[in-house]
Symmetry: C2
């Protein structure tokens, strides 16, 4: 491949590439609220067709369709590129731009950024990857690998039907040698944060209602003055939740919760040592507008907790009267949304039974657990794996400082590919910078010339990585 000619093609056509990202961002695909998801799937299918995929189809599941494309380059090796085409909701307060307008905004020190829901998580890198493939073709060059595109529409729902899809398309997926998750790895200073794994997640609701309990109001909120002689589902949910952590809310008291947590390996300890040297805690905090971490931890200790501690988080809680002013009611129902993040070697199937046992043991048998059918395990790749090494070499080629993270605190359904029957090595990689996933004013950097790469650099890095992956010798 004449890389220079492909990169030059990207630079010349960058305005079209930006427009393509904007187009996909403007198509809503808010899976948690079922807004625009199927229309977005069709748009993605169109993109795969434009790339010349021999097969570009919607694979139906019990939920949202998975969009699959197969691009045969006549190469020896095949990479499965995983995308998600769904996004978080847009109802969070604090947006300074319309969340789906895909506005280009000047943001210091980056130059123009694209500020929109889904820009970073993950339509920007997805379209960037497609743009990169198209640039290779339009520059008259050959793709170095065969590609299988898998774009799911339920990542924000915990990829609940991705296992069904993988079962259905097991034969196809098994033809892949590696899984590549297009990503933007640069922090706001330009430093590459190269991560080699993710935590697992399980998301569920805890609920007490008087109807199924038999105590408290059973059908509607009743007059608040009844509390003195009536049980309260709200108090019970509060007490049940409180029983699960220490008073600071930071240590989980559910029996066996930490039992399966693996000691940190020597390889990971080494990675933590290195990471602690370069980790920019100040920028990390500034970005999230936070002042202090838990227990005022810093540096290596903070990183260790962040990457290797499991957690029990309350994502949301509600009960009774939650509008302005005063209304005295005894609520008939109380609900909390909760997630557990899993680290090696916790097993996802252990979590809900563990929570159930805790509730029953502490006398909270009326607290119901509602599975959101949302979750998957943790996954990790050794830094010494040839795939990891190929990615690191690629970052070095672009001359940005590199920081290798043995895992992320976040979750992605990598384990579904990394575990049997596929056992596929995976990476999530790429240059470029974005931030505020799941928060207002999510953005990705578009322009070059700031501390980070822009859209063009992102696309070029994907091309360089694919090329290096094609050169990996078979194990």
């Amino acid at each position: 491949m004449n890389v220079k000619s492909v990169f030059s093609h990207i630079d010349k056509h960058i305005d079209e590439h930006i427009a393509k990202v904007q187009e996909l961002v403007r198509q809503p695909s808010i899976s948690p609220q079922d807004v625009g998801v199927r229309d977005c799937a069709k748009l993605v299918q169109k993109y795969f067709k434009e790339l010349g995929c021999k097969r570009a189809k919607l694979v139906e599941t019990a939920g949202n369709p998975v969009v699959v494309g197969e691009l045969d380059a006549g190469a020896d090796k095949t990479v499965l590129a995983y995308f998600m085409y769904d996004t978080q909701p847009i109802d969070d307060p604090g947006w300074t731009v319309p969340p789906l307008e895909a506005r280009l905004v000047d943001l210091k020190p980056f130059g123009r950024v694209l500020m929109a829901r889904g820009a970073y998580n993950s339509k920007g890198p997805m379209v960037g990857f497609i743009n990169a493939c198209r640039a290779i073709q339009n520059a008259g060059e050959e793709l170095p690998l065969n590609l299988i595109f898998v774009a799911e529409g339920e990542e924000e729902l915990g990829s609940r039907n991705l296992p069904e899809f993988l079962k259905k398309e097991e034969k196809l997926v098994k033809t892949a040698d590696y899984v590549f998750f297009p990503f933007m790895s640069q922090d706001q200073t330009g430093k590459v944060q190269n991560f080699l794994g993710v935590k697992g997640i399980i998301y569920f609701e805890l609920e007490v209602d008087g109807k199924s309990w038999g105590y408290g109001p059973t059908e509607f909120d009743i007059h608040g003055s009844m509390k003195c002689v009536m049980d309260s589902p709200t108090w019970r949910l509060v007490q049940a939740l409180a029983s699960m952590t220490t008073p600071d809310g930071n240590r989980v008291l559910i029996d066996d919760f930490y039992d399966a947590v693996a000691p940190i390996s020597d390889e990971d300890k080494e990675a933590l040592d290195k990471l602690a040297e370069t980790f920019d805690e100040k920028s990390f905090k500034e970005l999230l507008k936070i002042e202090r971490l838990m227990d005022d931890v810093h540096g290596r200790e903070a990183l260790t907790k962040y990457l290797f501690d499991p957690q029990l988080n309350i994502d949301g809680i509600w009960s009774g009267y939650i509008e302005a002013g005063t209304k005295t009611v005894l609520p008939w129902k109380a609900t909390a949304k909760v997630d557990v993040r899993l680290v090696p070697n916790m097993k996802i199937e252990d979590i809900l039974p563990m929570v159930r046992r805790h509730l029953d043991k502490h006398g909270f048998s009326e607290v119901k657990i509602r599975s959101m059918e949302s979750g998957y395990g943790w996954a990790k790749l050794s830094v010494n794996h040839p795939l990891a090494q190929a990615i690191i070499e690629s970052y070095q080629e672009f001359s940005y400082p590199i920081e290798t993270w043995p895992t992320l605190a976040g979750s992605a359904p990598f384990s579904l590919f990394a575990q049997p029957p596929f056992n596929l090595p995976f990476v999530a990689a790429g240059l470029g910078h974005g931030a505020r996933a799941h928060s207002p004013n999510e953005y990705i950097v578009i322009d070059e010339g700031g501390p980070t790469g822009g859209l063009a650099t992102m696309e070029k890095s994907y091309i360089d990585m694919l090329t290096r992956i094609s050169h990996i010798n078979p194990p």
Copy 2:
């Protein structure tokens, strides 16, 4: 007064009387959400003018105006009639009629009821009282007492500016001999529930936010995966709340909370004994659609708790993502609405400092208490007071069974009149039946012929009561 002629006038004109109740119900006056309140005040002022009040005006306060009317009958005694013209919100799910349409609905075994927000609490009895006065006039009779009407528009906000009004109009209020709160005392079987007091209430919000705390997210909800290294305002609020009660949510653990609670007097013990004989627990439960009381208490024990126990209730709680589906966030703020009900001899001014001390003592100094400026003390009248006796005699006149309640579990600003500088004896009384205050499908019975009195009986009872009060000998 020719009572027969006045009663006959009511019967003849009952359709106009119903329409008048409907008119006031249709005028929104939702003080917690500031909807239609001032327009409602003006409508009430118009009613007072139509009655021939020599003064009928809006008295401005820091909040909603109090509507005052003075109706001089040239009598020896003066009764202050207290009304509230504001209502609860209408956003609670479960309404089977439009909440402000004032629809007449057939409801067994009552015949027609008026089903609407505010019908029972308290526009129905308010207009019923005004209708009763008007009927006396239109029948060519004389009012047996001078009347001062005081209609406040912030009862559902805890009567927060009624003290200001009473200070402003102290001279006028001191001309009253008694305070009369028009009420509908019949349960659904027709039995009169004659109550002689109310609990006090204080309503406030508890809140943790990362900004003022300095820990956790400070400005917006951040990615849920941060919990393992970040404090959570939500967990802290849950833990702070949980520290305030036993795990069942029923016994308050705040130091000194129960210290001021007075032992139940012999008079009240006697009242409880009597009450337990006639208290219809089954109907009480059916009405509220509840299956069991706290700890499965029954009869006298249940009544004792209900009437003489203070409480700490969670009226509402919210934090983070509370829509459908899954969104993983670490919320930056968590809020609970809470009320304390006070029994003799608890002092309202003790409560918030007590809660503050509890929070600080248990390490929850970051939990903020936001006073809703909403509250007043408990109030009670002895059953042996001539005013209480006059009301009991009136109920006997109408031949319905009577059950005397030494107090209510609910709250009303009676204490503001009962305490210095006024020390006014008060009653809340009247025939008729309504239910579901603060709940969907609130109603009052309109028709006669069912187990309870309808609107006409309600109005007649007010007339009989006023007449008996005019005959009380000076103490």
